[in-house]
């Protein structure tokens, strides 16, 4: 198996991780809160897709997942809005750790809600595009993996345009950077924060739909995604959107490459060891704030 193949395999995984990490950073910047339920929102998105798929006549369509995608993203957005109102808003003036615990509670509810409704079996979502893999120059490209990369790229671009080029995006950023000032000049901070949560959760749900076709989904899958997103965001630079995406790809590539060279358990351990080394030598990450040493 060539390294080109490894790169391609890592790309799809990285694209999905990137969506999760982006959602995580959006909420982090908007609310100053670590959303521990981010991974569980991914899982919930996957199950929402499964539920929707059984309700709609999708088999006839050549692009079943494509129809589901906006629905799932919307459902995720709705869930994010609820999380913002229930877990963040009552605690927004409290120490951040209270929100952290609230999101942990939300994650527990999502996980066990899924376990109760769907059972514990691994499930898969319909693919974005039906079809077999193509082989190009000795490298096998599964259509679904290509679709994941393409979807993630489009979403990231759209998000970038939203945040950088639109009025709404500017207001979102203003509300995140200085809520008091933003409120003073008439920006509806509360609604925009909820919107950030909705965006973050929508991204997670979309990632869930994409991931669950290739890698399947089970109620306990949330924690692993959460950890990966947390790692990606930290090495990319805490709070940096660009860093989150790049961090996600780095994590995925490392996973795949280490898995090629070593046993899978060792690859896991190496990821954490590499993380420790990175933190000790470059704690501010690739793009992040100067965290550095204490006074």
């Amino acid at each position: 198996m060539s390294w080109a193949q490894i790169a391609i395999d890592g790309l799809a995984l990285g694209a999905a991780y990137a969506l999760v990490a982006l959602g995580f950073v959006l909420i982090l910047n908007a609310a100053g809160a670590v959303n521990f339920a981010q991974g569980d929102l991914v899982m919930a998105g996957g199950f929402a897709a499964i539920a929707l798929a059984s309700a709609l006549p999708l088999d006839a369509l050549p692009v079943p997942g494509l129809v589901l995608a906006p629905l799932v993203a919307l459902a995720g957005g709705g869930a994010g809005w609820i999380v913002a109102e229930v877990a963040y808003r009552p605690l927004r003036h409290r120490p951040p750790v209270a929100v952290f615990i609230a999101t942990i509670a939300v994650g527990i509810m999502l996980q066990h809600g899924a376990n109760g409704i769907f059972g514990a079996a691994e499930r898969r979502t319909p693919p974005l595009v039906s079809g077999d893999a193509v082989v190009v120059g000795g490298v096998t490209l599964s259509l679904q993996s290509l679709a994941i990369v393409a979807t993630a790229a489009i979403v990231i671009l759209l998000l970038h345009r939203l945040l950088e080029r639109t009025q709404l995006g500017r207001r979102l950023r203003a509300a995140a950077e200085d809520p008091e000032m933003a409120r003073a000049i008439g920006i509806p901070v509360r609604r925009l924060t909820a919107l950030a949560f909705a965006l973050g959760a929508g991204l997670a749900a979309l990632a869930g739909l994409l991931l669950a076709n290739v890698y399947f989904v089970t109620p306990t899958a949330g924690l692993a995604f959460m950890l990966k997103a947390y790692i990606a965001v930290t090495i990319g630079g805490w709070g940096s959107l660009r860093g989150a995406v790049i961090g996600a790809f780095l994590v995925a590539l490392f996973e795949v490459a280490a898995g090629r060279l070593f046993s899978a358990s060792l690859a896991d351990a190496l990821l954490y060891a590499a993380l420790l080394l990175a933190l000790l030598f470059k704690p501010e990450g690739l793009f992040g704030e100067a965290a550095g040493r204490r006074a």
């Binding site: 890592g10 376990n115 514990a120 290739v214 996973e255 899978a264 358990s265």
Partner: protein, 377 residues
């Protein structure tokens, strides 16, 4: 005359009371409904529930015991399992038996308690260790790893004539226990393990493992993975064009695993299991009733639990302590006939099922009666 009548009445009353006491049988079900082994635990629970509440009209006559039950989630965690046990012991009717959780760690924690409280623990866990500790209160109704791994190894080495085996196992209790047994059996059968890899449950990309398997020059792959990892491996192996025969653990027989894959991805894949209720024509009746009642496909764990509960009910009708009855009983279950080997292992047979690549339902390729004893010869 009056004395005789009086004595007769007394005797009748006593018999009636004894019969009534025998009538009440409470069986707590300690199963993991949440956590890492929730899939198998839910299956276990469903099989037991079916046995405790069978849909037969002629029920009452055939079931003088009116069993009651309670379900306790053990969360795939020994601490919670022990808490569940103690809570179950506090029931109104003191349990004489309990169905234990499928995860070996929790069972190991429960064994001393069961011994102390004189409660028979019915188990569907394959962890070999459980019956090696000299505990007189465990009764395992699923063949031990020693048995099923012997079947798995024998099929690969003797049936498929493979000599260089790649072993891919989960880094959990289930995987490590199976890995240990598989390694011993493969070597004792004259083949060699040329590759080993320990895979965490969270691993998503198996391309590295598959590439390493190829590089190792193995001519067959033996899997000891849980449902999700098994499906991921098969799917990605098919995509990578790995044309080696794959013989997997019981996770590969579970209908929920096959549901994740396209039939073509299952071509040439076999699995060991105690039984295959969804595929075995001889178990069609059970499968049909299970599907109707539980709204899901039955697997070997469900059937093993079903058989275990029925065996316990049968033993409960015998006089004397339940554990002694179970140690003596020869119970004709649906999957196989169960009989203790003196250490608590009740199941000694295994089967191999194979997928033909055209459907998600496998067919039974080979039946092994006591493969762990035959292989030693």
């Amino acid at each position: 005359m009056k004395t005789v009548l009086f004595l007769a009445a007394l005797a009748a009353l006593h018999a009636a009371a004894a019969a009534r006491a025998q009538d009440r049988f409470h069986l707590p079900l300690l199963v993991p409904i949440t956590g890492a082994l929730a899939l198998e635990g839910q299956s276990e629970r469903d099989g037991a529930l079916l046995a405790l509440d069978p849909p037969t009209a002629a029920g009452d006559a055939a079931r003088p015991l009116r069993p009651s039950h309670a379900v306790f989630d053990t969360g795939s965690n020994p601490q919670l399992a022990v808490q569940a046990f103690e809570r179950a012991m506090a029931a109104e009717i003191r349990p004489r038996a309990m169905l234990g959780p499928i995860d070996g760690n929790s069972m190991l924690a429960l064994l001393p308690l069961a011994e102390r409280e004189k409660v028979a623990l019915l188990s569907v866990s394959g962890t070999a260790r459980l019956t090696e500790l000299g505990n007189a209160h465990i009764f395992r109704f699923f063949p031990s790893d020693v048995v099923v791994k012997a079947a798995q190894a024998r099929y690969a080495v003797q049936e498929l004539q493979r000599r260089k085996i790649a072993l891919v196992y989960q880094n959990t209790a289930y995987g490590q226990s199976g890995n240990e047994q598989l390694g011993r059996w493969i070597e004792s059968l004259g083949a060699a393990v040329v590759y080993r890899n320990s895979v965490p449950v969270t691993t998503k990309e198996m391309s590295g493992v598959i590439a390493q398997v190829r590089d190792s020059g193995a001519d067959a792959v033996l899997l000891q993975l849980h449902s999700g990892s098994s499906a991921l491996f098969l799917k990605q192996a098919a995509r990578a064009g790995l044309a080696l025969p794959i013989v997997g653990g019981s996770a590969l027989h579970q209908p929920s695993t096959a549901a994740l894959l396209e039939p073509a991805e299952l071509k040439g894949v076999c699995a060991e299991t105690a039984s295959a209720p969804a595929a075995d024509p001889g178990l069609a009746g059970f499968a049909r009733i299970f599907r109707e009642r539980m709204k899901s496909e039955p697997d070997a764990f469900a059937l093993a639990a079903f058989d275990a509960v029925n065996a316990a009910l049968a033993a409960a009708r015998m006089p004397g302590p339940l554990a002694e009855s179970l140690a003596k009983i020869r119970h004709p279950g649906l999957a196989m006939t169960y009989e203790s080997d003196g250490k608590g292992n009740m199941a000694h047979d295994a089967i191999i099922v194979c997928y033909d690549g055209a459907s998600r339902t496998p067919r039974i390729a080979k039946r092994y009666a006591r493969p762990h004893e035959a292989a030693r010869r």
